[in-house]
Amino acid sequence: MLTKELVVLNRSGIHARVSTMIAQRCRGFASEVRLRHGNAVADCRSVLDLLSLGASNGTTLLLEAVGEDAAEVIEAISALFAIRFNEDEESTAPPPK
């Protein structure tokens, strides 16, 4: 299993449109992909799961992937976080490392 810590940088957090974007980005990858927030875990292909994390701006999440293309899907999802899901907003969270 590959993992990577990600910080929610967009101001509005992991809301419905962002969750949909994450779920759709997982299409085409074979690996299992999950996001963890404390004890809560979400299947990244499920918008319902992602919304249930309640991840707001500044939250640190752990991205996990298991499968043959785990590295690629981690890269793809990380890129969405890095560009703040194309939400053109100022953020109070620190910039990506």
């Binding site: 101001r11 509005s12 957090g13 992991i14 809301h15 419905a16 449109r17 969750s19 949909t20 779920a23 499920s46 918008v47 319902l48 799961d49 919304l51 249930s52 994390l53 309640g54 991840a55 707001s56 701006n57």
Partner: protein, 158 residues
């Protein structure tokens, strides 16, 4: 956050009469208006705002659930309503299934935290199959309110 914090009990609808997407949005917003949850003059503007948000991507998030929403200065706090359609409505959901459960939210501008916490509460409860099934089977407003209250009292969900 709990359902009681944002769901207007007078705006809960067990059997929606609408059969299409714009219709159910209008019917739910009318329910909020009738429950004094918004100003009458803002009704049409909020209808258009919710529909415009849907054009960015359906809030039909799968498993027969939709969470249509918008921000609007007509509300001073987060308000929401619940509606159930026994037959389901084509809401252009992500999984292409008809939607039976609707949670509509209107947030004041610049209150993303409350909106996110409401979505978190709604989806955490709906991950529980029993709660989700019972809600879809609700025939009366009282059935729905009772289920929401039980959920608020941690009788469902994780």
């Amino acid at each position: 956050m709990k359902f009681a914090d944002f769901i207007l009990s007078d705006a809960v609808r067990a059997e929606v009469s609408a059969t299409d997407k714009p219709g159910v949005i209008r019917e739910m917003l009318q329910a909020i208006l009738d429950a004094d949850g918004m100003k009458k003059a803002d009704y049409e503007g909020i209808v258009q705002a919710v529909i415009k948000r849907e054009e960015l991507g359906s809030t039909g998030i799968g498993r027969g659930i939709a969470v249509p929403h918008t921000k609007h200065p007509s509300v001073k706090r987060l308000v929401g309503c619940v509606a159930v359609s026994a037959d389901g409505i084509d809401f252009e959901a992500l999984d292409c299934e008809k939607v039976q459960l609707f949670f509509l939210l209107i947030s004041p501008p610049d209150a993303p935290g409350d909106h996110l916490r409401a979505l978190e509460h709604i989806t955490r409860q709906l991950k529980d199959d029993t709660f989700c099934r019972f809600l879809k089977q609700s025939k009366t407003k009282e059935d729905i309110l009772s289920l929401l209250e039980e959920a608020d009292n941690n009788m469902f969900g994780k």
